[in-house]
Symmetry: C2
Subunit: 386 residues, 2 copies
Amino acid sequence: MSAPEPRASVSTRGPVLIVGTGLLGTSLALALRAAGVEVQLADTSPTSLALARDMGAGALHGEDSPEPQVVVVATPPDVTADVVVAQLSAHPSAVVTDVASIKERVVNEVRSRAGAEARRYVGSHPMAGRERSGAGAADSDLFAGRPWVVVAQDSDPQAELVIRNLAVDVGASPVRMGAAEHDAAVAAVSHAPQLVSSLVAARLEELGEGALALSGQGLRDVTRIAASDPRLWSAIIVGNAGPVVGLLRRISDDLGALITGIEAAVCDPDRPEHTAPGAARVVAPGAVGAITDVMTRGNIGRARIPGKHGGAPHRYTEVQVLVPDAAGELGRLFSDVGAAGVNIEDFSLEHSAGQSAGIALISVLPAAALRLEEALDAQGWRVVAG
Amino acid sequence: MSAPEPRASVSTRGPVLIVGTGLLGTSLALALRAAGVEVQLADTSPTSLALARDMGAGALHGEDSPEPQVVVVATPPDVTADVVVAQLSAHPSAVVTDVASIKERVVNEVRSRAGAEARRYVGSHPMAGRERSGAGAADSDLFAGRPWVVVAQDSDPQAELVIRNLAVDVGASPVRMGAAEHDAAVAAVSHAPQLVSSLVAARLEELGEGALALSGQGLRDVTRIAASDPRLWSAIIVGNAGPVVGLLRRISDDLGALITGIEAAVCDPDRPEHTAPGAARVVAPGAVGAITDVMTRGNIGRARIPGKHGGAPHRYTEVQVLVPDAAGELGRLFSDVGAAGVNIEDFSLEHSAGQSAGIALISVLPAAALRLEEALDAQGWRVVAG
């Protein structure tokens, strides 16, 4: 961890009290500390609290602590509303926010229980996280460049401004949304995909090792988030049950149609047209239609995701280079790229289990790709077809 | 593309005839050429054939071509058996293989139609591919370090040896499997995950842009392969309909149980216990059970995948460094890592849409991690908590 570097233009006035020192709370505390803001920490777990303090996330909150200006509730989502209501009461002049990944239930419960005091509450959902959880996985840069949803339809405008500033101070981009709109959105881009990834991974539980050895990058990608924490996710999904169930039903309908379609292509020894030469082509038009329908819609949906591998026009050209598995090879590659005067826009290294060499995928501006390929080729690198 | 570098110990005697110059056929041709093997090319599409030839994949196959020793059929899977049978007849002394991702239907059809000649046929499935298709996406290193399934239960042992040698010559690892065993394995590690990824992506087709803007890396990973070619995949799924439908039915059963479980947590205004404070906790035990069941099984299944992010013990420690989005920063990082005398075992760069900086994930041997962190910190890099 590098030392905090106070930023020149931080809007948040401290102290900020963080209630809950898990991944999000501790990351936020670290980010605020790095911005020079005074942070107080609280958690029902003394172990988690001590770890966060020892990581430099802030001081322990106690009876003698100065009154916080902002309270951030970063507890599991099933207790978030309770804690928000308690904090509104405990700190009558503070703006209170939470960071739960569900908003409608939390906001409704706070409004119905805290009455007029709820004007000082603003719902937040920073779109940041990782498969690992707990203070030990915290990262002061977790929010950098990420959207930070602000739900403030019944909040005091000044309170909303305080929370928007907090988001900006940790490098996030505030996005105003309604609670129901937010919950429907995260059901589609996060909650349903999480459960479907788990459903695919669950099928590997009893698969033989010989079959698992054929796994490739596609399976790894589809199931990466299946490594996530079941307890945390149960609380999230339960808290957003309506939108999630609606989506899962539609996925289930599509899956049912796909199964019916593909069944038409299953070999049936009692039907000779199913086992004759070329049978697949004869009996499969229904199957082909069902598969191409789902996959074509998948192509379209996939292309709509903004960001590095989706939606936006391909601004960069990928130069692929074989990197031998030997000490210093990547360093040599990067210094050769630097010597060619080409800036790297994005970079990744692809290799599979047991492979002795990797392929470096170097994204550069299209105008620079050919020059880079020639320069690397001249230095003895094996540039492969992109 | 770098020039072919003949390898010292290549077992494959040429010429090898490649029928089908798509991604796999052209990649294989390039890999064989790089190993110094004579390659002939054939394809029903003159455009694809010319492109493969111009890429240096081999000479066009014609009436005057020397008789091939090996024929590799790399056509779409729905015509593979037809082409294999024709090639066995056209080249009566050649060993014939195919590279289709389905094996039982192809093998059975070849055996039933080619009779004793089928002894010269060996089924292959190199476990290599990418979302892009066609000769233009070909890569002579596509097979390096990947498993290459060999299906040879009724083949001549000499023919099997020829194909195993071919696999080794292009850097792959031959794995002997039965046809049905292979098809069940790829249904689980490839075909069902492909369709499920498409099902998730299909739900994004009509999603609003505001919701899509909240997309994170999890959604990108789950839907990456949803960008795959619907036509090619329809033929693959139809050809492996039985195992795929079996798996989809089990996923559908799990999904049904999940939906029923989560429905218990959906707010119902007619049931006061659903809308009271803390309602989610009161009504949700069935939901929590259903979600944790699927997610826990997902955790277990995910952990069984061998390779870089699954199964195997974590041999490497990840050092995370914030990389400013400026020219030459990655090059400077790598030269600083090199100066610290630390070898990079794996590397990736994480950043999201609109983010102005990335986080470099540098995997190193655990013993070197602290030294690297200190060295980078001393050079002014912001090392973040891992």
